[in-house]
């Protein structure tokens, strides 16, 4: 059985710029990920770790400057195979000093035009994305049903409204919305958050995309509803085999849905491997950040072991002031004397320590 890699991100860098501080905001600073067909990749990290920006970079939805500046995004579906960042070097010139990028010259208008040309054919049809805050992510001036049929008519062979409506209703049913016929004509303000999210999922999947990106789909919803949405996504994944990229800061969500997991911190991936390995409790071969994250989940086991919730000391990395050494160094509680100097001065690269499991930490290299 051959495995097809649907999405392969290599060394992606997406920077923004703060005029008031005259410095770069290095939101995505060298990220590499891949997802195989039919599998789900969970991307987990705190706010500011760059996970959403990574997803938006794939979709070509970054509008602030300078935006995507280097890397490769390989996308492969049944119909298309392409590097989404093809010819990026023709539009961008980078100057680095001491290994850090300090100058960027980019033909923003030209690159945007190029991106639109490429992504227009893919968005909604090959790659679909759903967002957090489903109520505000839907157009409050049009009925929910119309928004779904719009997508259907754009991206599938169904062009007539009655047929599209049929399909939309089928999908509304599939995402477990009650009284689909009634809900079809509702406006987003008339639906609950959970229902809006279901509708968004219907809207995304009705066009049968090759890749689904879910950016914090449960954030902003009530806890019980969150659980139901995750269940729905798991069900759809096993029924339809949708290749999924799931982004969340909530590790419990990630654990219920992912085949492999990437842990992001400060704009880079620090731990990457099969879900079973990364998410298991215990210290084996894991990035200190991952272990700390797991230890801070409110779970019966954690509380039983320690008696309290372990918070991670320190503050989230400010992606403007990226340190010279390991990004997690200032908060790490597993630094040993042997590696301290290296941790402080040099950033480790992402290295495979076991088959399929990569970690960015000096503890594991020798």
């Amino acid at each position: 059985m051959t495995t097809v890699t649907v999405l392969k991100i290599e060394d992606l860098r997406t920077y923004f710029y703060s005029r008031s501080k005259q410095a770069f905001i290095r939101s995505v600073d060298g990220v590499s990920l891949e997802i195989e067909k039919g599998k789900a990749l969970g991307v987990v990290g705190e706010s500011g770790s760059g996970k959403s920006i990574t997803a938006l970079s794939v979709m070509g939805l970054i509008s602030a400057g300078p935006g995507v500046i280097s890397g490769k995004i390989g996308f492969r579906s049944d119909r298309i195979q392409k590097n989404l960042l093809q010819d990026l070097e023709d539009f961008v010139k980078l100057t680095a000093r001491d290994g850090k990028i300090m100058d960027v010259s980019k033909d923003v208008v030209g690159w945007d035009r190029n991106t639109e040309r490429v992504m227009q054919k893919l968005r909604g049809k090959e790659i679909a994305m759903i967002f957090q805050n489903p109520k505000s992510s839907l157009n409050s001036f049009t009925s929910v049903g119309k928004q779904i049929t719009e997508a259907i008519r754009l991206h599938t062979s169904i062009k007539s409204q009655p047929e599209a409506k049929d399909r939309a209703l089928t999908w509304l049913d599939r995402v477990k919305i009650d009284s689909p016929r009634l809900r079809f004509d509702n406006y987003p303000y008339g639906l609950s958050g959970g229902m809006c999210q279901r509708a968004m999922i219907a809207m995304a999947l009705a066009c049968e995309p090759s890749l689904l990106i879910a950016d914090e789909p449960t954030t902003g919803l009530d806890a019980t509803i969150q659980s139901k949405i995750v269940d729905l996504l798991a069900e759809l994944k096993s029924e339809l085999g949708v290749t999924t990229m799931l982004i969340s800061h909530d590790i419990s969500i990630i654990s219920r849905l992912s085949d492999s997991v990437a842990v992001m911190y400060g704009g880079t991936v620090c731990d990457y491997g099969p879900a079973k390995e990364i998410l298991s409790t215990g210290f084996e071969s894991k990035h200190p950040y991952t272990s700390a994250l797991l230890a801070s989940i409110p779970s019966a086991q954690n509380i039983k072991e320690k008696g309290y919730l372990q918070a991670i000391e320190g503050e989230v990395l400010d992606t403007i002031n990226v340190p010279a050494g390991c990004r997690f160094y200032s908060r790490c509680n597993r630094v040993t004397e042997k590696i301290r100097e290296r941790c402080e001065r040099h950033e480790p690269d992402l290295r495979e320590i076991r088959s399929g499991h990569k970690v960015r930490c000096w503890l594991y290299f020798d």
Binding site: Y15, Y17, S18, R19, S20, K21, Q22, A23, F24, G65, P66, R97, M102, D103, V104, S105, K106, D107, V108, I320, N321
Partner: protein, 297 residues
Amino acid sequence: MKHYSQIPGEISEFSDQPFWKKADAVDLAYVGYGLLIVTLVVVSYLLGSFSLLPRDPQEIDLGLMMARPGTAGHLLGTDFMGRDMLSRLIVGIQAYFLPGLLAIFIALFLGAVLGVVAGYRGGTFDTGITYFTNLVDSFPRLVLILLVVAAFKPDIYYIMLVVGFTNLPVVTSLIKGKIQFLKQKNFIEADVALGVPTSTIILKHILWHNCRSLLIIQATLGMAEAILMETSLSYLGFGVQEPTPSWGNMVQSGANYFMQGKFWPSTAPALAILFTILGFHLLGDGLNNILEGKRNT
């Protein structure tokens, strides 16, 4: 092609650039030009008040009618009666300067009072004041002024009273909006809980700290409005009368000559109006962008 550069060295939370580096160059240019105009206006007003003019604005010189700018002794040429253009333009400022200040004062003062009451007290006061401001907004300024002119006399101060009044809805709603914003952020609640006296809350905390840039901006726009009104009215024949110069009546009396191809008598005052109003507008907008707009990185 866009270029982004980072300066080497540590970036701290407090290394924000001073506002003159952070602000758009365009906005700084606007403010610069605006301040230049304000200075010219104030200086001209003073010159006019003390009659420190290059030449007598009423002095007729039929031998030198409609001379071009730069003619000997007449920096900006002469009008159709040979009177010095520059002096007449300077004196024209007298027509709107003090009345304009009156209009600004009324708009800001009454507008602030109403805005504070509406925002701070809210409830029925808010409804009543909203009704009142909507009412004032229902009248076209010029028509209302003509009504007042018909009923009373065409006195520029009466007129500026009306202008001030018609500008107050904007001020009221801006101040009310600011107060609602502060309320939302619980600043006011905190103040009250700390026992700060109401007058201090209103005068110092709300108006001075939070609203002063807003008020300054409204003052500039108000002056632009006043100039527009005064010149329009004197153009229509209701303000300052010939031979006393006002930019408006200067354009009007030069009209016939304009149609004969002799543009300068009408154009010089028109350009004065243009550049001056432009100056106040740009000043207001530039300040608005710098002080009120760009709060984010």
